[in-house]
Amino acid sequence: MPVNAPPRSGDPVLDTEQPIAAVLVPASGAADVPVPHVTATLNANGSVTVSVVIPEGTPPGVYFVAIVGTDANGNSRTIIVPIVVRRVVTAAGVSAADPASFQPAASTVEVPASVRALQASLSEAEVAEAETAVLEDGATLVIEGERLVVSRPSTDDSTRPLIAAAAVALVGGSLIAVRRRPATRKVAR
């Protein structure tokens, strides 16, 4: 039986009791970046959620997160998850049983001083609008130069720096963005 035989539903993926490591692989072929913080959680339905924190200062671009662990049969298993690093901070906690659901999670990134200065001028209405934009409309936050931009899927060209700054304020000083589609991947090996 080959190690990489196609998995059947219910096959173990990763043993959370064993060490799990991760490395960030730039798609351009540049040197790999170690990922120091990796956590794995066994969900009630038997799936495993692995969270990694991408190091601050990682250049933008296409990357592969290579997660190396051990499956329940004791075989080494490597999971490859493609990501795109942008100025947007993306977070998604995903339930495999209900992939459509997600919970936003704050990153460890500090809000720049220039953004904090913007926050001081915001009204409550602007804060409320930002909350709707980010948490309900699937908008994303982008830092361009010294300003923040919020982009709704339906109006990609809209630039609303003050509202984006308000959204940052909503999460208590941690930069956060939410996207609709969770980072869920079936394991095909």
Binding site: P2, V3, N4, A5, P6, P7, S9, V13, L14, V23, V25, A27, S28, G29, S47, V48, T49, V50, S51, V53, I54, G57, T58, P60, G61, V62, F64, V65, A66, I67, V68, T78, I79, V81, P82, I83, V84, V85, R86, R87, T90, A91, A92, V94, A96, P99, A105, S107, T108, V142, I143, E144, P182, A183, T184, R185, K186, V187, A188, R189
Partner: protein, 343 residues
């Protein structure tokens, strides 16, 4: 580069769960055509049908040459990435719409600027996609860089251990038929000239600590001198070949079914004398654990494809035709479906 963005950091969470979506065996086989008006559209249809949940990153290769797209199977399988095709000097119409429909945020271009010009990168970036390029100086080095991109642990096992596929870079059929195996099993495809082991292929075999090589194709495609050179590196070699490109594809399909536990509920039909509509087949075949069978001509199923299908009649539920009727005629598709029904 107008919309390049700088990273501050990110937290990524991925729920990992096994599952292939396999269905029970059935004798009521059906045909499924994946086709657009041209090779680029066909690749888009393949991507959309293969990755209905979308993908964060897509691969992009030239649709006018075969090498980079075929070597892409390994990356596509490892990262569950759709493969799309482009003209060398400009994006095909509607490609960015497809990328958006798939929820793609980043694009990895495979191949150098001769294969995919920088103007294509500029177009993508102007549309808001993050773009990177992975390339070597020629097709052999590009295949090597694809193989070496991911950590060694990502390479799958077969036979004697950590495994790679070696195929000729001078013709497409064998690497095409090997695509599903590469994608599903994590075996990189390394390209070589037929007469001697290419230096980049050799370097990748060393750097990845490959223990088993599958040679796709007969001695006319990959000579025994190549086999000898690989064996001299202390690597076990197994040649999977038939008397023709169609027979080689059927032999690879048999390896997939018999030794890699492919459920063989689906097979892909591709034209064996033209790669235009088949380039994305490896990604689909790997994703769905479906082997690629090469037909003799658009209007002829051929004895090798027919034999494999007939041998698996009652198990094969779906026969995919890659491309329009100019690639796989309706009669050929119907013929294959009938064979899958045991007729």
């Amino acid at each position: 580069m107008s919309r390049r963005r700088t990273a501050l950091g990110a937290l990524v969470a991925a729920a990992l769960v096994a599952g292939t979506g396999t269905a029970g065996a059935t004798a009521d086989a059906t045909g499924n055509r994946l086709a657009g008006p041209d090779r680029f559209s066909t690749a888009r249809v393949v991507a959309e049908q293969t990755f209905p949940d979308g993908a964060t990153v897509a691969l992009l290769a030239s649709g006018r040459s075969f090498a980079d797209a075929l070597a892409a199977s390994y990356l596509s399988g490892a990262g569950q990435l759709p493969l799309l095709l482009t003209e060398p000097h400009g994006l095909p119409a509607d490609l960015t719409d497809t990328l958006r429909a798939l929820n793609v945020e980043g694009v990895l271009v495979l191949g150098g600027t001769a294969a995919v010009n920088e103007s294509v990168v500029d177009q993508l970036e102007s549309e808001g996609f993050d773009v990177d390029r992975l390339a070597g100086d020629d097709r052999y080095e590009t295949a090597r860089r694809i193989a070496e991109l991911l950590p060694q642990d990502a390479v799958g096992s077969f036979g004697a251990g950590r495994a790679a596929i070696v195929a000729t870079g001078e013709a497409f059929p064998d690497a095409l038929a090997a695509g599903p195996l590469s994608a599903s099993q994590g075996m990189p495809i390394l390209l070589t000239e037929g007469g001697a082991l290419n230096a980049h292929a050799q370097a990748a075999l060393e750097s990845l600590d490959i223990e088993q090589v599958l040679i796709a194709g007969g001695p006319a495609a990959v000579s025994d001198a190549v086999v000898d050179a690989i064996e001299a590196m202390g690597i076990a070699v197994r040649r999977v070949a038939g008397a023709s490109r169609q027979a080689t594809a059927a032999a690879l399909a048999e390896v997939a079914r018999g030794e890699l536990s492919y459920p063989t509920e689906r097979v892909l039909l591709a034209r064996g004398d033209s790669f235009a509509d088949a380039l994305a087949g490896g990604t689909r075949g790997g994703h769905l654990f479906a082997p690629i069978l090469l037909i003799s001509a658009a209007g002829t199923l051929g004895v090798d494809a027919r034999s494999f299908i007939s041998d698996n009649a009652g198990t094969i539920a779906t026969v995919d035709a890659l491309g329009g009727t100019a690639a796989v005629s309706d009669a050929t598709l119907n013929d294959a479906v009938a064979a899958a029904r045991g007729q």
